[in-house]
Symmetry: C2
């Protein structure tokens, strides 16, 4: 397809697509002459991923460029999903304490979770535990274990649906969008579960 | 105790405490003369709740005032927790669709969850489902059911710890702080669970 059709199918303007091509966010089409290039479904999918990363995940274009390159260079679907997932990691402003990092490692070990040593989520979780403790709410291992146990079957189901995707770009898009969009579903259901768990026994 | 000791124990300045008294965020002490009043532990607890609501939950003082009044007037601990919990509800800018509201009701009914008809979380959840669908990710009942199943035992554990609190103000504080502070713990663990669920079968 030509640029105009890619624009129509992706919902981006011609000018934006040209900008993304120059910025390395979109891979070049196949040049048919000096004046036009042929684009295909991979370009439509890539633009959908860029839209998800900017509009849903609120990433800067520079971060999106890094994610897109990582997805492109990933040797497997698992790596591609990891590249997208890690990029969603919250910034940790305060360095987590060593004791919280040890607790995170212990939690992962108890549940047999394989999480990469460089995963940013380790530090994010350790910093979250530090904040909890600073405010005088001890995060007991019992509670952390109950979270981990509860989340494993949910994650299996979620990952199985992402893995049905036709290629790595689509899988990465689904993971990013799904991770972010389902977070409010999960946290709101937790608040409703508090009410449900509280009502029958307390009144 | 006198105002100076209340200030020392709560970490607020004399001036801030006087402002909170005038604004109705803090109940008056027992007047001992025209120049001083006696404060007690209930004032320390109230100030801790105000701190949690403003600093952790990021609420405006006017919202805090409403929560504090609702906790004060609550006829039971369950009601006090509900007042605090509901105040944490996200603002829903777009009115949710009727079909999503029906789905939320169906979900609650399938799991036998007692959630108040006026709970703001119903609309928040329905709006979140609308967003998911608008972005082309169908939120199947299977997935919602797996979330609900996973969260119920976690919520039971969380509520049981809040219920150990000595009075309604402390219970409300623990619920607010716990709800907000554990959210990043839960969402980060979900991301790690994705990696753990993805790694062994995909590589």
């Amino acid at each position: 397809m030509r640029l105009a059709e890619l624009a129509a199918r992706s919902g981006f303007s011609n000018a934006t697509i040209k900008y993304y091509l120059r910025a390395g966010l979109l891979h070049p089409g196949e040049a048919q002459s000096t004046t036009w290039a042929e684009y295909d479904d991979s370009h439509v999918r890539r633009l959908r991923l860029v839209r998800a990363l900017t509009e849903v995940a609120g990433m800067s274009l520079e971060t999106v460029r890094q994610v897109v390159l990582a997805v492109e260079e990933a040797g497997s679907e698992h790596e591609a999903r990891g590249a997208a997932q890690w990029a969603l990691s919250r910034e940790v402003t305060d360095e987590p304490t060593a004791s919280s990092l040890v607790r995170v490692d212990g939690l992962l070990a108890r549940h047999g979770w394989t999480v990469h040593a460089d995963s940013p989520h380790r530090r994010v979780l350790a910093a979250a535990l530090d904040t909890v403790e600073q405010l005088g709410l001890p995060a007991t291992d019992e509670l952390l274990d109950s979270y981990a146990q509860a989340l494993r079957p949910v994650a299996e189901l979620e990952v199985s649906r992402v893995a049905e995707a036709e290629d790595t770009t689509v899988a990465a898009e689904r993971l990013v969008v799904g991770t972010l969009l389902y977070e409010p579903v999960l946290t709101t259901l937790r608040r409703m579960a508090h009410e449900a768990a509280s009502a029958p026994v307390r009144e």
